[in-house]
Symmetry: C2
Subunit: 332 residues, 2 copies
């Protein structure tokens, strides 16, 4: 398999719920007016806590500093696994499940924290800027690693990055087991031809900028059976949308498309308290057992919490698996 280190330098930011009005102007530009921006990587996810915005430095320039804007201090680089046709995989699973054992588990073991961003098209693994551990770790997993330089993919090797790299030989310490929340709403993962984006502009603007009650108390929404979760991304010209079935009904049915099976997804939100950006192994903890059971999963990290989406029909076994994990911490 090939691993691509994409040529985007990303910032991970959070806009407070009550501060969104101040960011309507730059966000609408980044979402709808591609001719007016050089931003190529943009993702906006609404959760009950805040709006997580992940975007490249061109996009980040559009966001004015504000008391309502929190910016994670690192530059993050997106990795992308590309099946080059040689790898034989018996798995039908999609999403992070496919890369759980080859990428996520090894990185977790090497204490590399990741920020995951699954989209309709692919799964981006965001890592902090220092790539030496990442490259040496994944080279051992038999990946061919390429770095995007000016639109071309150039092979890279561990020694190209850092000669004095010392591989961390010790096993990862036992990770924290975070509480999970399994809301009742069903989600769809969809895409849209970018040329038809104008057709859904007013609906998308309505949903993104006007549907939240600003008086909503974020702490009270923790108890809700249904979670507010809506994600839009426009990355290298591809659009991906994650929304629940209630939001989906607001859009014209003929423009948004999902995979042929049209599956519905249930969410597992990970984290009782905001997870921060340094802990490693959070994604691995969920994706590893899913991979063992060959259960597909999208995985979307946000500023405060992580979110896995698993097929509706698998939610019972996933719930059992998570309960088991929480009752009996693994001993090896």
């Amino acid at each position: 398999m090939d691993l691509h280190i994409l040529d985007h330098r990303l910032r991970v930011t959070s806009i407070a719920k009550n501060g969104l009005v101040n960011f309507t102007h730059p966000l609408i530009k980044l979402i709808f007016l591609r001719n007016r921006t050089r931003c190529k990587f943009f993702s906006l996810t609404e959760t009950p806590e805040n709006y997580t915005v992940v975007l490249d430095e061109e996009g980040f320039k559009e966001l004015q500093p504000s008391e309502h804007l929190q910016v994670e201090s690192s530059i993050w680089l997106p990795l992308n696994v590309v099946s080059n046709g040689n790898a034989s995989s018996s798995s039908q699973a999609v999403g992070v499940t496919k890369i759980a054992k080859s990428v996520i588990a090894p990185l977790a073991q090497q204490h590399v924290s990741v920020f995951m961003l699954s989209t309709y098209q692919t799964d981006f693994i965001l890592v902090k800027k220092d790539l030496s551990v990442v490259i040496s770790t994944l080279e051992e997993e038999e990946f061919n690693i390429y770095k995007e330089v000016g639109g071309e993919f150039v092979p890279v090797h561990c020694q190209d990055v850092s000669n004095d790299f010392q591989k961390n030989g010790k096993e990862a310490t036992q990770p924290t087991v975070h509480p999970v929340l399994i809301p009742k709403n069903q989600f769809c993962v969809m895409s849209l031809d970018p040329d038809t984006l104008p057709s859904i502009a007013t609906t998308l603007i309505d949903v993104l900028f006007y549907s939240s009650s600003l008086k909503e108390d974020p702490s009270s929404s923790q108890d809700l059976d249904c979670i507010k979760f809506f994600s839009f991304s426009l990355i290298d010209g591809y659009i991906s949308l994650v929304m629940d079935t209630e939001a989906q009904r607001l859009f014209p049915a003929d423009l948004l498309f999902t995979s042929s099976s049209g599956e519905l997804w249930r969410m597992v939100r990970i984290g009782g308290q905001p997870l921060g950006f340094d802990e490693c192994g959070i994604v691995a903890q969920i994706s590893h057992p899913l991979a063992d059971s060959d259960i597909s999963a999208y995985y979307i990290s946000t500023f405060s919490f992580d979110h896995a989406l698993v097929p509706e029909e698998d939610i019972v076994s996933v719930t059992d698996m998570l309960q088991h994990q929480r009752k009996e911490p693994a001993t090896s």
Copy 2:
């Protein structure tokens, strides 16, 4: 003819050019999300100086106080002349020309200052809240006057309004003759089915919120051959757009419609210095000679200046007329 006093209580406001970003959220709501607002009268006009927003009190609530927002202190009421089929008119002219002698001139003579807002559909004559002079003056012009009360039009008479009204018998003093500017761009006055508004949303958003260079020096644009002028209104469910031919090219040709003759209009901007809201007779000074020559005219007041639009083919004679007016002040 019938005169309707419409049931809208209007505010006339101005948003500074560099403050528009702070008002993107409420303005997009007022323009595109009719289900989210009870505002029924909304008009936004961009000029080189600022954005003039005229809106009813429901809409006004959406605008947060800001150093970038100027609010004229009065409540304005819109009047509307409705031809009831009895009036025989030999004139083919449209716009303020039709009401120049019956409404605009008599109100000017009675020192009533007006704020004009021509749209594709009709011409609104905004007057400040005290209606007694307006009603007594226009009753003398043989108007049947109706006031909109809860959607119904109820006849009103002078004595219903104010018993102690003293008609101002003296002639209006000689009005100030303001300098005019005649930019070279050609304008269209258009409409749009409100149901197709979503189809042009991204284009309209681009033009309204992203096309101005914020670094533009308003004072320098006075010298420009072409003026920045774009007006959108959504009043009682009807949309009207005024834009120059350069902006028109950005929109799909099949959605916006204009009158069958498809005429182009040239602009006369009135005022060398901002006109304020107290002076009367400004509209009359332009519309009276246009009526004499049976030349159609739309008329759009903004926070700083007034703007008359006359047919392209009449601009030479209008220019001559205005030059004459400025060289030889009328003596009667």
